[in-house]
Chain length 426, copies 2
């Protein structure tokens, strides 16, 4: 174990980069003597970061750092699916370097090409920090459960959305209000689109699916619905049903095909995913023969994410070599993608209608005509003469059928707001 | 990745051995082509096991199997801290074989000597299956969190005790009654002592402590209290306090010393450990910079345990090499053990007294004289004239002091049963 330290080139000096520097050169450096920083790069050399980078060789160009002869491992913490991140990771692999990255967008959108390149070069591409921060879910799937047939993975993979939903739930405040607060607290980006639209969780679940089921990430195949439409009334109604609304990212095997979804679900209040509060992440893995494994922890932040990057580096020191995803991607496309929108479920529907005679009859008649059976129906207190909220839940039916019924209902003159359709699951 | 299969010698053909054979040679064998069984041994060759062993070379002697020239890895699933298990594992390491074992008693009681032998021989000794079955907690501590300073680990590490406690809680039945049922269902051994006394959990937590804090397992240093004394009235009273009773195994760093305990605790009902029901295991790890990580899954049974053994085998195939515990044990004693019985806590006390005047006054006076402050006091409905249950909780005080007060109280003529003392923690 008295080898020379692993020499890394560190690209990206934001929150996670700073966390990694603390683990290598800080007062309480657990990587001291094992890992050495030989060069750094970032957007700006002079920005005040709260930590000192003057002792490291500075590179203006990430690809130059990635291919520097002194670098053993290129650590990419810049982010972004394309541009400098992609170019420099490719350059590093082509130059025969191992790569550690926290970049879920890059892996989700270019995982196949990057894995093929790593295989061709006989190099390791590691990304524990790309999904669920401090939860070692990549290692669990790739190694701990490697003898299992995974049947499904579900989880909360975006702490920003979970913070917003659980805060809306506990305070009754609106999406916009809580989002603005999350931005002030640093839990949400200035442009929150990637988070609240579900795209970030979709990036992550496509990576988990590749590890669980084979092939490479199929980000384009993730059916994604964000949380922008969720209103306080939905969280309150869910609670009345003994449920919680969570943005759930999920990949399951259905008849040999992989169904990948990100959407807000009404889960039973005691479901392990529903219990994750605030910015936590939670992942539930179902497999044979292991049964169910649940992991809960901090999904973001300097410390947890840097801890995950460090675990990849220590793995490289110990000589562990694995395919990038579940198996080599060359000649292995993985299972096919399930056709979208074909699932059966119970559903939750929220409508707002004008307070006039015959509206309820028209809605229930339309559902009946499409053979959608109502399980519960609640007319909520009138908000104004033009705004009566209606909450209903259905028995199990086809998603395509209820979507068609709702599109008819949306076109009724008395319906004053686009219907909100969510799944109820157990 | 098209290497020759790893050749294993398999000792022990019980539940876990059968689960491993299914993963190697079963209809749905995830290890097919990667692992090959070259020989087996067990107590009885002819016993009907429900699976076929006739195609494997039979060894009467485990050490002969462990040292056979065709064996790359010796897999020890016999159990027991000494005897054939210990002798054969030592023989395998001395013969230059890697070893995979599920034997927590062996590692807890002889971990230092075995790790030193493995280091001397430059061989791997792996034991993912020894703690928490299907939960990859060994891998998480050894690899996933390797850049963290762990400050504490706590968990439910014995599914038998958790099944008994949660069944007593939900049904109001007695310890003896539920234990007998657990034995019929196969959740408890014919001799349940190792489980219900807390010794099995103590074995396991000593292994986790070695991984988290350094040194080798110090089983003798675990303060252990079992669940035999717990009565339905305790579970009911705990519920009234918003708490659950769980047998918690814990290792924490206190002023640089390791405090290892196994004892029934009254935890808040929403604590992640308290939420684990039935035969589940749960582990909570606190570290810097990761924060808190919680893992919940099946801690025993053929499938989960064989999955853990298989993960170790696949790690060996991929060439990963690690110290047996957190770091090489040669010349590294690890942190010192904390002095026992010195902790401060809030406490729960159950007494049974004869229904006669002055008893309560004598009890409360004794506590007051020892400066133990009562937080809540409940006299429960009289069970009989000679049996009045009293439940009280205290404010924070020294364990040694309340133990002294209770020993005085126990000697009062009106106190008809040994007091039950448990900790209340948050």
């Amino acid at each position: 174990m008295s080898k020379k330290p692993l020499r890394i080139g560190l690209a990206g000096l934001g929150t996670v980069g700073g966390g990694l520097i603390a683990l290598i050169d800080g007062a309480d450096a657990t990587l001291a003597g094992q890992v050495e920083i030989v060069g750094v790069t970032a957007n700006s050399r002079s920005r005040d970061r709260g930590f000192d980078i003057s002792k490291y060789r500075w590179f203006d160009d990430a690809a130059a750092l990635a291919t520097d002869p002194e670098v053993d491992v290129y650590v990419e913490l810049m982010g972004g699916s394309d541009g400098a991140a992609k170019h420099s990771v490719e350059a590093a692999l082509k130059a025969g370097k191992n790569v550690v990255t926290a970049n879920k967008a890059l892996l989700a959108e270019h995982g196949l090409a990057l894995a093929a390149l790593a295989e061709l070069q006989g190099r390791q591409l590691r990304y524990e920090a790309a999904v669920a921060g401090g939860i070692p879910i990549i290692k669990a799937l790739r190694e701990g459960l490697s003898a299992n047939r995974i049947t499904g993975i579900a989880g909360i993979l975006n702490g920003t959305c979970n913070y917003i939903l659980t805060t809306m739930e506990s305070t009754g405040r609106t999406f916009g209000d809580v989002l603005a607060e999350a931005q002030r607290l640093g839990y949400a980006e200035a442009d929150p689109t990637l988070d609240v639209s579900g795209a970030d969780a979709a990036h992550k679940v496509s990576i988990l699916a590749a590890l669980a089921f084979g092939g490479a990430p199929n980000y384009a195949g993730v059916q994604t619905q964000g949380i922008q439409e969720i209103q306080p009334i939905d969280l309150e109604a869910a609670r009345g049903l003994g449920r919680r609304i969570r943005l759930v990212a999920r990949a399951v095997l259905v008849d040999g095909a992989v169904e990948q979804t990100v959407r807000p679900l009404l889960l039973p209040a005691d479901h392990p995913i529903a219990r994750a509060e605030g910015p936590l992440n939670a992942v539930v893995v179902d497999g044979v023969p292991i049964g169910r494994l649940t992991l809960v922890g901090r999904g973001a932040g300097a410390g947890p994410t840097a801890s995950a990057v460090a675990a990849d580096l220590i793995d490289l020191i110990h000589g562990d070599e694995r395919p990038v995803f579940a198996a080599p991607v060359a000649g292995n496309a993985g299972p096919k993608a399930a056709a979208p929108g074909t699932g059966r479920s119970r559903f939750y529907v929220r409508l707002r209608v004008a307070d006039r005679p015959g509206v309820i009859a028209a809605i229930t008649e339309t559902l009946a005509r499409h053979e959608v059976s109502i399980e519960s129906f609640m007319q909520r207190p009138i908000e104004s003469a033009a705004q009566v909220p209606i909450i209903l839940t259905t028995q199990t039916c086809d998603e395509a059928i209820i979507a068609r019924a709702l599109s008819e209902i949306a076109s009724l003159p008395a319906v004053v707001e686009a219907p909100c359709l969510l799944r109820l699951e157990d």
